[in-house]
């Protein structure tokens, strides 16, 4: 654990949640949090509790829906699923992040080639 983790940029958690729900279908909060941790290879500094603020925000925007259900091990939990509106938003956000990542990559690469550090 010693090595420092990535601090989450504003708004990135929302995209991660949407993507997770898009790929895996309905999940409860714990499931989403664990999934994000696993996928990120434990690189992300995530207080699992923050996921709930993100979930309520997404819900209020109408991008995800929620209903109570039972988990695999018979525990009462709220299950979240992505909505049509959320799918659209995810497409937009994904495109945005992809472009941003590309641009960042190019910019950083250019500096490397220049080698004037």
């Amino acid at each position: 654990m010693g090595q420092s983790k990535l601090d989450l940029l504003q708004g990135t958690l929302d995209v991660m949640v949407l993507q997770t729900l898009h790929v895996l279908g309905p999940l409860h909060g714990y499931g989403i949090a664990r999934r994000i941790e696993q996928v990120s290879g434990d690189e992300v500094l995530l207080n699992q509790g923050t996921i709930y603020a993100s979930l309520v925000r997404l819900q209020q925007r109408g991008w995800i829906s929620a209903k109570w259900g039972t988990s695999d091990n018979n525990r009462k939990a709220k299950f979240y699923a992505i909505t049509k509106l959320g799918q659209k938003q995810l497409l937009r956000d994904a495109a945005h992040w992809q472009r941003l990542a590309e641009v960042m990559g190019r910019v950083l690469a250019m500096q490397d080639k220049g080698g004037q550090r």
């Binding site: 409860h28 603020a53 925007r61 988990s71």
Partner: protein
């Protein structure tokens, strides 16, 4: 990006906060359970599994806070916090909260009620279509009651045909009294009040029937089928709101009358045209029937688009003087005048000043309330000064603190406004059903949209007013000074004291103005009650009598004699008589001239109020015969043309001569003057008496309806059954009309003045109580703060009476300054209400002195209680208190 949906959801979230909280808590709990389970599966110990799960979760409370933050609007949440804090504060200090809210409720409630009345009578347009076009047409200098405010059928028709200013001119017949019809159904005949309206009356006002139709032109022709329009309340109450009644017939006075429609609920004829009266049904006024009857129509017109009142007035000034009274009798002369007044102005214009005074008075009450609350809050502020300084020291922004204080003020004001609205609602529903208060439009008073807006405005204004001083004090000021100053030191808070004293002085001054105003109005009212009305209203009562004489004069005389003699047989009845009109109710006038004195031509006729009466009427009313004799039954049965005049009429006809035995031409007949009575106030207690004559009911002088007046020491209620029994013996069809005390007629006439006196008086009392509370609060507070100081002084040898005197003199100083300011203000303001006073000087010394005495006494009492407490301070206890 915050979308509309999100904002909405956030607002919703605010209101469902508790549920959302518990849901997310449950969610988080289950989250932790799952994490613990997974950790256990990985082989951790139970304790370690739980610890790890909690670490990964990262703080339950923080997560909850973040959840709340992201689901609601930030300002809503702050407001929520403020409100929650406010409620906690107020609950802890519930005594203060209850007193503050009650005081505010009184002040705001009184203001709402008065505003509703002002709004209904002055501000709101009349409930007709384009009411600004409606005009009332009245003779310019009406001398003799209703008859001189009306026009003949011929003059009305001339004006209708020849004017170019009006879309339409119509009118109504104002000479019918209450209960002039009887509705005969399956049970006892019921009295009903009907009014005749000329063609196009409702169309002129722009009133549409809620059921059926209005009158058609052919229904105004003589001998057409009898039809009637019903008022909404009458239809609801008497006919059970039966919709099928339209088109069917009802029995009125043994005549079958077809109901053609029901007027809307919003149309209240009495409220606009005849305050205090209720009209149950309307029938067509047939011009040809009244053509020979003199002035009979009260006129209302609707101006054409674009025609101003001034233009219409100049046309009327040109037209009306040319009109003959009657086409058939040009020798009766010609020459009307016409004063055109906006209908709304005519109805309520003369009340403007009274209402504005009332409005100001109640505004002062609100000011006093605010000052009082300001004071209470200042006292609290002093107690809470440390708390606020502490909060500032801990980093609370000044804005946040002011906002917190303002929230408290607003919550208090809002609670006061809600309870006040309840108060006002009660008062208004009471007022709206007071037929005995003859203020126009009052029956239409209710809490409506503009009243609610006004309430909101007032609540906010009040909160700002009473919250400002403590708010400023609390948020400004040197932190350290406050923290230092807030110990129960000796001479601390002098500055504080001065502010509170100024407020109390303001309160006393305001209360003083209110008291003086109320005193002046009360004195005027007492003066009015003292007027010699010319009859004795107490111990007499009247009832509208129904009989069928078949148009036979002899039979009528016999019936009248029968009615009076049988009434006299009732035990306790001292005298009884019949008249067709009672004083201070409806009236009419005829022209009269002295025979032989002057050259006879139409111009010498002077208008005189006419009463067609039976022998005994004058005595039953308590009218005083100065000269000559009363009528007797022989006068009636022999159709003798005799007349009794009042003093003013006799003096006007034969100045300086004995009128008895002289002859007047009254109602076109030579009549002998047989008696003179003291003047009777026939229309209003405050006007001087006009000219009157009392004629016997004979062939020549037919009565219009008849009222039996009975004088007895017994209360009217106990006689009512006996009288009704006697009347039913004579006529089984006698409807169940009310046996009304004559006093009620007088009360009716004086009710507007009583209304204002009562209200202003109530406000003055309220002001006095609030001011005394204010004095008490300030003095009592300063005694509490100075307990130690007083203790020291007493330890050093000050006596109890010295301490007492010291506190009282402080009170007295406050009261004196307040009263001085109040007197100056009162002297100025009293001039403004001079026109509302009756035989009372606006600077009436008696009123001023007595009101000052009251105020002084109350102030001293308010100061005495804390003074006594101060003198009871035990120096040992006071000194040990720290």
């Amino acid at each position: 990006m915050i979308s509309l949906r999100q904002t909405l959801n956030r607002l919703l979230a605010f209101f469902r906060s508790d549920r959302l909280d518990s849901e997310v808590k449950e969610e988080m709990a289950s989250h932790l359970e799952m994490a613990v389970e997974e950790n256990l599966r990985r082989g951790l110990s139970a304790e370690e599994a739980r610890r790890q799960a909690l670490i990964r979760f990262g703080g339950l409370q923080q997560a909850l806070e973040r959840h709340r933050e992201s689901r609601t609007l930030p300002w809503v949440d702050v407001l929520r916090q403020d409100l929650r804090f406010t409620f906690r504060m107020l609950r802890r200090d519930s005594g203060f909260a209850i007193v503050a809210v009650l005081i505010l409720a009184l002040g705001i409630g009184a203001n709402i009620a008065v505003f509703s009345v002002v709004n209904t009578i002055l501000l709101r347009p009349l409930p007709f279509r384009d009411p600004q076009q409606l005009v009332r047409i009245v003779e310019k200098d009406p001398k003799a009651g209703e008859s001189s405010k009306t026009y003949t059928a011929d003059a009305t028709q001339d004006f209708q045909q020849q004017n170019h200013s009006f879309q339409s001119v119509s009118g109504y017949f104002p000479f019918t009294g209450p209960d002039n019809f009887k509705l005969i159904g399956n049970s006892q005949p019921a009295p009903a009040t009907g009014l005749l309206v000329a063609e196009g009356f409702f169309q002129t006002l722009g009133v549409e029937p809620s059921l059926g139709r209005l009158f058609r032109p052919e229904e105004f022709a003589q001998h057409s089928q009898a039809v009637a329009l019903l008022s909404y309340p009458f239809w609801k109450r008497r006919l059970g709101g039966d919709r099928s009644i339209v088109g069917s017939a009802i029995n009125l006075n043994n005549t079958s009358v077809t109901v053609i429609g029901v007027l809307p609920e919003t149309f209240d004829f009495g409220a606009v045209f005849s305050p205090g009266a209720k009209v149950d049904l309307f029938e067509p006024f047939v011009m040809d029937v009244f053509r020979d009857d003199g002035n009979s129509l009260a006129l209302v017109g609707r101006l054409k688009q674009g025609v101003t009142l001034a233009q219409a007035q100049s046309e009327a000034d040109q037209l009306l003087p040319q009109f003959f009274f009657e086409h058939k009798h040009p020798e009766y002369g010609k020459g009307y005048t016409g004063q055109l007044t906006d209908l709304k102005e005519y109805v309520s214009g003369r009340l403007r000043r009274s209402l504005i005074v009332l409005w100001c008075a109640v505004g002062m009450i609100l000011l006093i309330v605010c000052v009082n609350l300001s004071n209470l809050l200042l006292a609290r502020a002093a107690a809470r000064g440390k708390e606020f300084a502490m909060r500032r020291a801990l980093g609370a922004g000044r804005g946040r603190l002011v906002r917190q204080l303002l929230t408290e003020s607003l919550v208090l004001a809002a609670a006061g406004a809600v309870i006040g609205l309840g108060f006002a609602y009660g008062i208004l529903s009471y007022l709206a059903h007071q037929g005995s208060i003859t203020l126009p439009l009052l029956a239409m008073v209710r809490v409506d949209g503009s009243v609610l807006e006004w309430t909101l405005l007032m609540a906010i204004a009040a909160a700002m007013l009473f919250g400002a001083a403590p708010g400023l004090r609390m948020s400004s000021g040197n932190l350290q000074e406050v923290l230092k100053d807030s110990g129960p030191g000796l001479s601390e808070g002098r500055r504080h004291d001065r502010m509170r004293s100024t407020l109390v002085i303001m309160e006393i001054a305001l209360a003083c103005v209110l008291l003086v105003g109320a005193g002046l109005l009360l004195r005027s009212f007492l003066r009015v009650l003292d007027i010699d009305l010319g009859f004795e209203a107490s111990h007499a009562a009247a009832i509208s009598v129904d009989y069928d004489d078949g148009g036979n004069v002899a039979k009528r005389t016999a019936i009248w004699q029968e009615i009076t003699s049988r009434s006299l047989m009732i035990p306790g009845v001292e005298s009884a008589g019949i008249s067709d009109n009672l004083p201070m109710s409806r009236n009419r006038s005829w022209g009269i001239a002295a025979k032989g004195e002057q050259q006879q031509n139409a111009l010498n006729y002077i208008p005189v109020f006419v009463y067609i009466v039976s022998p005994g009427y004058l005595k039953a009313m308590g009218m005083r015969l100065i000269e000559g004799r009363d009528l007797n039954w022989d006068d009636l049965s022999n159709n003798r043309a005799s007349v009794i005049l009042n003093k003013t009429a006799a003096r006007k006809l034969w100045p300086g001569h004995d009128p008895i035995g002289r002859t007047v031409i009254a109602g076109g007949m030579d009549s002998e003057v047989i008696g003179v009575i003291a003047d009777v106030h026939e229309t209003d207690a405050e006007d001087s008496a006009g000219l009157q004559m009392y004629l016997p009911a004979t062939k020549q002088f037919g009565p219009q309806g008849s009222y039996l007046v009975v004088r007895s020491k017994l209360p009217p209620a106990s006689l009512a059954a006996g009288v009704m029994h006697k009347l039913r013996e004579i006529n089984p069809g006698q409807p169940a009309t009310e046996f009304k005390p004559i006093q009620s007629l007088v009360d009716h006439a004086t009710s507007p003045r009583l209304f204002f006196v009562l209200l202003v008086g109530t406000f003055a009392c309220l002001g006095l109580i609030l001011a005394s509370l204010g004095i008490y609060g300030v003095i009592s507070y300063s005694v509490t703060r100075q307990t130690q100081e007083i203790g020291i002084r007493m330890a050093l040898g000050a006596t109890r009476s010295w301490v007492q005197l010291d506190v009282i003199s402080k009170t007295f100083r406050l009261a004196l300054i307040g009263v001085a300011v109040g007197i100056i203000a009162s002297l100025v303001l009293a001039r403004l209400i001079a026109s509302l006073l009756f035989q009372t000087n606006p600077s009436d010394p008696l009123t001023f002195v007595s009101m000052l005495a009251v105020l002084g006494a109350v102030a001293l009492l308010a100061g005495y209680l804390p003074a006594r407490r101060a003198s009871k301070i035990d120096p040992m206890v006071a000194l040990r208190m720290n």
